[in-house]
Symmetry: D3
Subunit: 244 residues, 6 copies
């Protein structure tokens, strides 16, 4: 089984971190390719970043399809371009926010989300509503750490994160914590041990969810909303999409 | 890894069918125990059946815990006693309705559900609302087959089921089908081939979801709603629960 | 008119308290039988307790039907087994949470609920959503009193309860208080006088609602979800249900 | 106990019909006054009618308060001026739509509503949402009978009504029928016998609900939204309200 | 273009203030008539006031129609009688709460509302739900100023208002402020400059929205809920409506 | 006043049609610039098209800002990149779907939407939920016309459109029609005359809404979600965004 993990930002350090995490998380039989787009922002922290990354990552989905990957994972907690990616993919496409909500809600009745920046909170709240998980979530909190700091997380940043998780449990009533950024993934285990509740990393959840779907032979329905786009002309820097 | 699959009704034939399905679906490294309670109804078709089965299946969860199983699956599409089971379990407890919604919504934007009896429809609609999946579901349809007929499904029953699935796609706009009864599980693959859309069997989905959680070291949060019940006296036929 | 009041736990003291309350509340022409099951937990404080009590109380509903009672009241604030009870009953079956919401919303635009234990709060929130009363409720608070303490309430417990009611009014904006436990019923009047707002006891509300339905000749619809269960085999300790 | 039933339109025939119905429905110990305003429309069939009737009926609530009535019933299915009436009343004020939803939902999982005119349907749908009963209602249907025809209902009108009720059951899945107009009240029993499901008349339900509240000593909370209006000047035809 | 602005209370001072504001806000080509009813309360602060004002303002809508006004504005933040006014109008009828929500949500993702009295908060929350804007609003706050004080606002009142707006931004996360009372309209600009976020006055928004609709030739649909009322008899002080 | 209208697809014919429409709709004092991006798809008919157009149109918003336009309109009924555009804009940014819902809901209680392709329906339903207008919309229908056919609409296409509008009114109960595609804008008037109900074209509504906001001095709040993005590096084809 071959899974493509797409880091939708263009930070090589985060791509590298995802590769390390994936090697550790995946089943033996699974192979992973971890890639980031050739175009776009170094980090995704606002709606502009997300829109540009969305357009860029579609190239990687198309490339992965031509390489017959068995599943695609979009490894940014805003789940960028998820529906568009499913249109150009016959394999399943999994967002890490969606996957983490699905895992967290099986093992807790109420989970809290801790993300990097206050600015990302409304984006995440929008996903909770879109996916129907708003009743499961106690609150979305921010540790106020710039995303690129995650390339080399300081002790101070870790403490900020740990403290917001703690408030989520003691003040908001969270029974589990969802980490609201792909860059935090490697911290899940340590945080869980310190906090005494499950901590869900969306990248790991997405890898396992991808393996599950592939093992069951389940793939993106091409009937309805995710059916293949009609051919049409794209001009300028998107000319290469004209034949898709 | 050891997974306990609980058939909450007392029909040995369905328990046997689930065992066969599980052997086929599980990963090599996984072992499964498939059990049904010693007490309760032969099938679950109404609220009374569900309440009795709920009380009965808790004994199996407690037994599984004492045997250190790594996960429990409750294999009835009404997800009976799910929250109570999580109270007495340190391992994850997975309902097949919940699992099937989580898998179906990754590969389709709208799914339909086809169950056995009209009477089960409101129960399933209740679960869609409880879990937040009501916007994903086009409709819940019934093929009008008594649950126990599934022990030995006739060609006529298969045709009824096939036709309701077809209507779900063509009339309701379903892009994938969720089978709304554990007893239908073995038919998923054949139906999918005939219908041309993914067909999700909740038992298989639950097995894969259980394997995923165990592989990630994620288990029921014991902080909050699913914390262990306080000891108290139970009398009469539930005396054995007094020390739990 | 004969009304059966079912105390779903097996605490004789609470059953006795309910009998005293019922005698005081009922109309002259009404007779009441107050019973608790022969099997099950001494108190209902978590999902396990509720599931066991649900299975046990159905025996009493069936017994009451054979005695031609005119209505059944399920006197626990989690409204256990309400839908199943309606399946085996031709008489109306009334839950005390449902009844208290219906009465409170006629005399206030926003009511608060005060219950015994924090653990019970999510169960009650679930009922508010299920019944459509979530917009009416300001908050669910807990006085942190073990249910069985209610058999003989101390002054300290009363003060805790009184203070949570007060916070519900002054901090949350509640215009009336619903008592979230059958065991508190006898305190409603005293609390109302001290607090200066209406205090609704669900048991009293349910008795009056039962009398109303019977006087109007309205009873459980046997068309649809509450129609009589099909006969089937139950084994083991539920063998006696086989002929129902 | 003295209950005031307010017919908010100015049709004496309907007032008379309500008086007859009330005599038949009320408990022996209850006395009823049935009144209609001195000002306003002969029937309530649109938003203009409802607004005018709302302003008019408040005079009767104030009059009833001065006569120390124990409860007020507003006997029009649009529940006009319910919140304003509660401001000027220390006794409970009950709307017949609200009451009928509360009674119907105790004895059925899904009820249908049949009203007189298509034009009234959105008003009723608004009430279902406002009170939180939208999930309980299968559909609102209209029999297309002008309200004043109810003064002397023809066989043809009865047949129209009966047929819409039948469609509500067979096509929409209603398990009980709520009559969506005070003028239909006397037909409930006959319709129920013919249809084989419970038929709820809101006027009768409101009378019983009023008796229940009064017997329990529960009355409109004067803390919060329904507190007494501040004194202020009203000019012109509402000058008499200046001292309220 | 001729727009009628209806002040639904009978305070001449507020009517005068609205006239001044309208002259300043309207386009050159627009003419405005500002009127208040001959009957009703001096201010609208509770449900009784609103019901009486609703009945009174309909006379002005009818008068405006006979004068061929191009649009009507109902200038009270409870949007009284909006649906009834549309029934008797062929021109558009615009409520200031509705208009302010529509403008605020175009320029902010979350807005706060600051009104005069705590008592008005539930009325406004009801409108947010009715119009579908509850997700856009962070909170409704009150500055605790009696409506008629607005005739001649003191520095202290302005400071109270300013401080609640500030809390809405810093504590609730509001990105823009909606002024929840027609009497505050003239303060919008000054508040916006001091607060550094957009401040929306519903009267101005409604005037612009009215001009827009008229310029596009869009007017109240007379098909469906807002179709002209059937003729019927009104008695007493509403006799003049009999021919409408 | 200078308004930029962005046609997010790259079809020059549609850009030209929008220019003609805008000249006809705008106020005398308003100047408009109508532009389409240099990059991207010829039409927007699926999620891929929308994501690419979203990334492309941001360049035009940034360009317009540098030219000090007073407002931006995004003239595609999927409201692409609306939130991102607001981040890079100090002027208001208006989507045509959002604008059309705001205008339609002032003049009708229920509106229907008719769009070009079945495939666009879920996108529009998503917007209805996001903006809170789902209760106002009776149904979204499709006339099954490829978007680019609108460059030169045939009589047959017009008839298809007309018939779907008619069904929306007679079968779904729509009281007004919203045209669900910018390319249909010029047909609004003719359709309205034939159908006898208001027909809302989102482009015209957006132009008027833009003029209104500018006249009132209201602009995008730069506090909160729409605040200016932090500077960061963009690589590859988005390098030009690095300094934004």
């Amino acid at each position: 089984m071959l899974i493509q993990i797409i880091n939708p930002n263009t930070s090589k350090e985060i791509t590298q971190k995802l590769a390390t995490l994936a090697e550790h998380t995946k089943s033996k039989q699974t192979k992973v390719i971890v890639r980031s787009p050739q175009h776009g922002p170094r980090s995704i922290e606002c709606f502009v970043d997300e829109q540009i990354a969305s357009a860029s990552l579609l190239d990687l989905v198309i490339q992965g399809e031509s390489e017959n990957v068995d599943a695609h994972i979009v490894a940014c907690f805003s789940d960028p371009a998820l529906y568009a990616a499913r249109e150009v993919s016959s394999a399943p496409v999994i967002g890490i926010a969606e996957a983490s909500f699905k895992f967290a809600s099986t093992i807790s009745a109420k989970f809290g989300i801790v993300t990097m920046l206050t600015r990302a909170i409304p984006m995440i709240q929008g996903l909770l509503f879109k996916y129907g998980y708003e009743k499961y979530c106690t609150n979305v909190r921010s540790a106020e750490i710039p995303v690129l700091d995650l390339n080399n997380i300081s002790n101070q940043d870790y403490q900020s994160l740990y403290q917001e998780c703690g408030k989520s449990i003691s003040q908001d009533g969270a029974e589990a914590i969802v980490l609201g950024c792909a860059g935090m993934s490697e911290l899940a285990q340590e945080l869980s041990q310190q906090l005494g509740v499950p901590v869900i990393d969306g990248v790991s959840a997405a890898i396992k969810h991808a393996e599950s779907l592939v093992q069951l032979g389940l793939s993106t329905s091409k009937s309805g909303q995710f059916s293949t786009p009609l051919s049409k002309e794209f001009i300028g820097r998107y000319n290469h999409l004209s034949s898709s």
